[in-house]
């Protein structure tokens, strides 16, 4: 399969400063489908919005962005997630010693599945664990160009799409199709149509601008949102704890502050995203000759955007940019998370779900419409349960990828953990 990969580029150009990368991310001549031949027939992510380019990508984002409006995010953050968070944590933190990485995955996948449009049972850990398994596979697929064995990843992703479609997407698709039809017929007794990605794709599927008539594209698009909505949140929760524990004697005070100060929890998440981006290096392909930050880029060049380094650019983040400091003072025009959610037309659509709205400056109160983001809620919840490093067990990085910001296991201890109560979700 790898013979179709475009191995040769007209040039390879690397940017590692904040402003240059920001310009590059906004340049319409730089495409995320950086290697068209590898994204042709048989590609595991063929046609998904995150690697598409031009008018189709914009049309797709227009309908999908409707699921990320402020009022919908407020519903997630203020009503749905707090309930799920407490219920699941009571189950998952069932002893003093816990691996916190899968806890983050299970918490994140509940809302990611709902937003993607899958009718998973929030109370079935078996279903949630299966969805997390899919996320793990799709995440390997998303990072296939950094994979150590890309052919094995490709085969695994194909196999997983089949099961994902059969078990979760098809039932949700059929239910939504019935509900949309009943709504169009004006059936007064019809159940309301859910608000989610699958629903909007089905509602707009006939629009040729979206290029969604192939069923496989719909399945892959839903998978993309499930994966994107779970993976970064779980990894960032774990990276936040890793950075806090690295503070040594200060860690306990930071955790106590997190427990009582949600705005600080949000700034901690943003600082974590800056220092530990899920995708440290973004890649683009030049669709045409262009210029970024005074550098001429020829057509078919590979452009590597080192966001990990740009997020430590002293001109934007200060002379101590390498230091973990959630209270750092920044120019308001610079996002505290740096470039970790990208920018430009491929800017992560779920940024406000995960990280909330830009955090108010230290010492400034958030207004009523402010959102802190789901990762901050998760971080605060584990802080309130007294999370501590586990001195007996070492964390393990995900060695299947070259990306060093990804974890596989992260054992911790909890000073306060609740036993399973009656009526809790099944294990």
């Amino acid at each position: 399969m790898t013979e179709g990969l475009l191995q040769q580029y007209s040039a390879t150009i690397v940017f590692d400063t904040y402003e240059a990368i920001r310009q590059a991310l906004h340049d319409p001549n730089l495409s995320r489908s950086f290697d068209k031949r590898s994204y042709a027939e048989g590609n595991i992510r063929d046609g998904v919005v995150s690697i598409s380019h031009g008018s189709m990508q914009r049309a797709r984002r227009r309908v999908e962005n409707t699921q990320f409006r402020a009022e919908r995010l407020q519903l997630y953050e203020r009503e749905l997630f707090p309930k799920v968070l407490d219920e699941l944590l009571d189950i998952l933190i069932d002893s003093e010693q816990v691996d916190v990485f899968p806890v983050g995955e299970l918490l994140s996948v509940v809302l990611a599945a709902r937003r993607a449009g899958l009718d998973a049972d929030d109370r079935s850990l078996e279903q949630l664990r299966r969805l997390v398994h899919y996320v793990d596979v799709f995440s390997q697929g998303a990072a296939i160009l950094d994979a150590k064995d890309p052919d094995a990843v490709r085969a695994l992703v194909y196999e997983t799409y089949d099961e994902f479609e059969r078990r979760f997407v098809r039932p949700a698709w059929e239910r939504r199709a019935r509900l949309i039809e009943a709504e169009r017929d004006g059936d007064p007794d019809a159940e309301p149509v859910p608000h989610d990605i699958l629903t909007v794709l089905l509602r707009h599927r006939e629009d040729p601008a979206l290029e969604l008539l192939d069923d496989g594209r719909v399945v892959r698009e839903v998978a993309t949102y499930l994966q994107g909505g779970t993976h970064t949140s779980a990894q960032t929760l774990t990276n936040a704890l890793d950075l806090i524990f690295a503070e040594g004697d200060r860690a306990e005070a930071i955790i106590e502050r997190l427990a009582s100060d949600r705005a600080f929890a949000q700034r901690t998440v943003h600082e974590t995203l800056r220092l530990r981006p899920t995708t440290p290096k973004m890649k683009r392909r030049a669709e045409a000759d262009t210029e970024v930050a005074g550098v001429a880029i020829p057509k078919d060049a590979l452009v590597i955007l080192d966001g990990g380094r740009a997020n430590r650019d002293p001109s934007r983040f200060g002379q101590e940019a390498d230091r973990f400091d959630p209270d750092r003072v920044l120019d308001p025009s610079v996002p505290r998370w740096g470039l970790s959610f990208g920018a430009g037309p491929h800017q992560c659509p779920g940024r406000s779900v995960a990280a909330g709205f830009p955090a108010p400056a230290h010492g400034t109160d958030a207004d009523d419409s402010h959102l802190f983001g789901l990762i901050a809620l998760m971080l605060q919840a584990v802080a309130r349960r007294g999370v501590r490093p586990d001195p007996d067990r070492q964390p393990e990085r995900d060695t299947r990828t070259e990306r060093d910001t990804r974890w596989a296991h992260y054992p911790v201890r909890f000073e306060r953990w609740a036993p399973v109560s009656a009526g809790s979700p099944s294990r």
């Binding site: 906004h26 340049d27 319409p28 984002r61 227009r62 962005n65 409006r69 402020a70 025009s333 430009g344």
Partner: protein, 76 residues
Amino acid sequence: MAANVSIDPDLCIGAGECVRVAPLAFQIDEDLGVSVPLDPADELDQATLEQIAANCPTGAIQVLIAGVDGRTGGVR
């Protein structure tokens, strides 16, 4: 200093960054899935308009001030 703010509906993806920064000056047309400027947009100060245009993910926001092309939302 009044500005003239417009949004290219072909480029806009309805991300709503402009609405978040200036909710009284922009709104999303949910039928089209794109942002549209409201009358107060023309009265925003230049710094705010530049920030909004610069943050637009697709460079869809065009700001004209006193006859000078103030488009800062990215290269088309």
